[in-house]
């Protein structure tokens, strides 16, 4: 009887192993903040708020800001 049992197929993939939260958290905190800082400089620096004086950053990424949907000026 055993030989009639259908072999496991690729149609039902096994559940991928979970990565423990403790292993993700340090990366998520450090790189999460770093990535958000990058997004801030592309999306909002020298718009509503400024870290640096002037308009150089704003003018340099001006077109990207409009086309990526951020409020510009």
């Amino acid at each position: 009887m055993a030989q009639h049992v259908a072999p496991p197929t690729a149609t039902t993939p096994a559940l991928p192993a979970k990565l423990p939260i403790g292993a993700i958290a340090p990366w998520a905190v450090f790189f999460g903040i770093l990535m958000l800082v990058l997004l801030y400089f592309v999306g909002s620096e020298q718009g509503a708020t400024s870290v640096f004086n002037g308009t150089d950053v704003h003018e340099w990424v001006h077109d990207a800001r409009h086309l990526l949907g951020f409020p510009c000026h």
Binding site: L15, D56, D63
Partner: protein, 251 residues
């Protein structure tokens, strides 16, 4: 070992984000830039004061655009990879590749499409400079709300799955998301700062191209990152090749 997996996923996410950013850049340059130029032409025709050019238009539309789009791609690639590390094996019975594409689709909706429906992208000359603070706050608030609600809806779906089954639990979670987002749309203030004679077709085309950029970015990211994650997490090219032989034998 697990920490190394997270690091490898993060690096691959940022690289996939860069690759997707290149694709999005092509779309932005070809589809979006013509309407940025048209909007600037409108602005110059209707404004009496001429601002001093800090960065030339030819730099803004090439190197400047590339900087912005690529940094955006890398940053969201990194964030999406970290979200992926959490989602893997927790959202359902999906392969690493399918999980990546599913996550990208949800990110496109939660990060961009939902906020866009309330506060759409605007070309130059649409938008009053005096209200930039308010518009920025509302846009990021909408984005944050949408992402948090998407996460909450995912958790709700997982909680309901044992009692309702996967299908109806998903339907209920998506419906709950739609209702709360609908309330947010209804109660958050409306922003309409389109100048009176601004050409409607330029505005429409500009917004469509902005949507196309995001669609390209997130689809590209899902496919590239999915492939990289699949190879990282399921490294068995040899078994896949040998598995074909026993299957072909019976019948």
């Amino acid at each position: 070992m697990n920490s190394a997996t997270v690091r490898n996923l993060l690096v691959r996410g940022m690289l996939a984000g860069l690759a997707a950013g290149v694709l999005a850049l092509v779309v932005a340059y070809l589809l979006g830039e013509p309407y940025v130029d048209k909007a600037i032409a409108f602005e110059e025709a209707h404004s009496h004061e001429h601002e001093m050019e800090v960065v030339s238009r030819s730099l803004q539309s090439t190197a400047g655009l590339a900087t912005g789009v690529l940094v955006y791609g890398v940053a969201f690639g990194g964030i999406a990879a970290l979200a992926y590390a959490f989602a893997l094996g927790r959202v359902g019975r999906f392969s690493p590749r399918a999980t990546a594409l599913l996550l990208s689709g949800c990110a496109l909706l939660a990060v961009y499409v939902v906020p866009f429906l309330k506060y759409p992208a605007n070309p130059p000359s649409v938008g009053n400079p005096d209200t930039i603070g308010r518009r920025t706050t509302l846009y990021f608030l909408m984005m944050l709300l949408s992402v948090l609600l998407a996460i909450a809806a995912t958790i709700l779906g997982k909680r309901l799955a044992p009692s309702l089954g996967t299908w109806w639990a998903t339907v209920a979670a998506v419906a709950a998301f739609a209702v709360v987002i609908g309330l947010a749309f209804a109660f958050l203030p409306v922003i309409n700062e389109v100048p009176q004679e601004f050409p409607a077709t330029v505005l429409w085309r500009f917004r469509l191209s902005a949507l196309a950029i995001q669609l390209t970015l997130w689809t590209g990211f899902g496919l590239v990152f999915g492939e990289l994650a699949q190879r990282l997490l399921n490294p068995k090219p040899a078994t896949a090749a040998t598995a074909r032989h026993p299957v072909a034998a019976p019948n």
